[in-house]
Symmetry: C2
Subunit: 413 residues, 2 copies
Amino acid sequence: MSGSISPLAPKSYASMPALRGLRMATASAGIKYKNRTDVLMMVFDKPAAVAGVFTRSKCPSAAVDFCRANLPHGAARAVVVNSGNANAFTGLKGREATTLTAKSAATAVGCGENEVYLASTGVIGEPLDATKFSGVLDQMHKDATGDFWFEAAKAIMTTDTYPKVATRSAEIGGVKVAINGIAKGAGMIAPDMATMLSFVVTDADIAPAALQSLLSAGVDPTFNSMTVDSDTSTSDTLMLFATGAAAEDGQTRIESADDARLASFRAALNDLLRDLALQVVRDGEGATKMLEITVTGAESDAAAKKIALSIANSPLVKTAAAGEDANWGRIVMAVGKSGEMADRDRLAIWFGDVRVAVNGERDAGYSEEAATNVMRRQDIPVKVDIGLGNGTATVWTCDLTKEYVAINGDYRS
Amino acid sequence: MSGSISPLAPKSYASMPALRGLRMATASAGIKYKNRTDVLMMVFDKPAAVAGVFTRSKCPSAAVDFCRANLPHGAARAVVVNSGNANAFTGLKGREATTLTAKSAATAVGCGENEVYLASTGVIGEPLDATKFSGVLDQMHKDATGDFWFEAAKAIMTTDTYPKVATRSAEIGGVKVAINGIAKGAGMIAPDMATMLSFVVTDADIAPAALQSLLSAGVDPTFNSMTVDSDTSTSDTLMLFATGAAAEDGQTRIESADDARLASFRAALNDLLRDLALQVVRDGEGATKMLEITVTGAESDAAAKKIALSIANSPLVKTAAAGEDANWGRIVMAVGKSGEMADRDRLAIWFGDVRVAVNGERDAGYSEEAATNVMRRQDIPVKVDIGLGNGTATVWTCDLTKEYVAINGDYRS
């Protein structure tokens, strides 16, 4: 495992303001190692509205099952995130561990167990000893403080080489609201080591159903449009909480996602989700390049996204990027294997502004040198026009390097 | 690109007998380089029955289009295979090149253009100068000889580290028949360098429709059940020819694939296809391990195959294999992301004979050392029981190593 920071890491980190209605603390519960920070607790002073989207895996972790079951209740008082043990593929013991953790958190905070949310990353298949949380959570609840975002982002890192934070502000009906978020993830999944988790909190006053609509719509062009290695975690979790503290400033509660006053908030939220998602791609295991792949002219937006992901997940496209090789033949291959409608004789392909292929042939005016210059950049825009319809999509990925193989092949041995 | 032979290469090669009714020759046509063998010609003395299966890519090469168009005619007199230029993504010029090549071959052999079959591998997007074939094919037709299988297999190699040959015998109605085949391929696709091609010939007398049924049924559990890197070529081609020479020994022509006399032939053909397919996997770019992944207990055979391919194509499963890591958590992940029905609490997983997980939990009796010993082998059997139904499938793949990244990342630069 490399100890160095991704070359694609942000040059500077956002200064993260405290967010009204939320306090956080970290601690060492000794889940896997002694004296290592392995628990993050988020505490909402009053019940916060809550929304969540989770892994589509058919084998989700016990924590994902637990969160899904609590969501219809719509209110959150505490979030407990642990590293060192994913509590996935742990059967009945896994469910017992989530129950016990929720009980400990509920006792510490003084709330119902259905107001607790859980996320776990780490070794899978290993029973999680949830008794370790009991005393710890009490103390964390007492210690929790508002100005703690950066520390929280660091606490949930695994193979990440940098903490992922983002903040935005928006207005609702003239009242200023804030949105803060953190994320972790470097492989989309690598059981025992990495998984994608993200927690976003706003002080806006928004009802759970509206919050869920905003989040579900926002995740598709952001977190669900990026891929590091095509492998989907059993534990992927993205949650959005609304503390409602902005009501003190006169913000009227938003009940519906269709409310016109949400325009600014929706834009800021989507921008923040995109920011966090791109930070995850840019920390992709072994990454040296970020590829932004835009597909236009597909039969539908869904078809465009399937083609774009076929390109983004192709090992041959990703190794070519690592080699700074403007290998558009591999793009053609990936379009062809996607299964979506494509007419070879209408395809056009660009690296940056350099059109390398058009009408199913190499572009006569194409300069290999110009294309290679684009490939030498850290951020490489790739555009493919299918020439059939109006469907478009943009997805992000990173290159596939020997370092990725080293991180994932040398890990447990 | 590594110059060494795959550690998984066969310890010895089959001795390939001549096959009645077929002659072959190789030559240098100067397609990409001077003085390098780059054309293989197969000539059938009399029209052979023909069947073919081709890439499912939506962007197939001009040669694939050409073969598909000729197949309904059902008879073959000549096959021309060139390396150095894939004639893929070459638009109208690509079609002109296939027409001209077919014309040259038809003139040389004295047959119709619809009795010619073509396959090309090499650079994509580069127009193929088919005029280079004209004089060459005449001479090849004159030089063609029967005892040439091993040379033919070597002539079509690209990133392959060893030639792929196989031979079987069978009987039809008491008459002995032979089946010979060659294949090439090391990446499922790597435009500019590699693609999967295979040509199989029998001296049995079998009508085209029956031959096509046999081939279409045979390809699913063999060539379509292996993956090196999940990338599908624009040029994948598998063809089966029947010269009918066994009629001289009294074999009665087979008109239907349902004919009971085909039992021995079908078994031999499928065994040969499996042999060639496994040789391709074992020569996977950078491979040091071969994984045989068997899924049982899925809802259907199709579901089992989708789950098996999800495991076989997972970069994290493949890098774990390279690291000799019995990382069954990544198997759970790959089952979960397949999209097929799976119940975490019924899953069981084996490496070789070592059951590592059962009923959705780590197997209590599981020995990490025993599992690691299995991972140290060159050939690693992985078995997953879904516990839901009777669907089964077996697929083959290889590990993902730094050498794969080197071969495909360093290639054009």
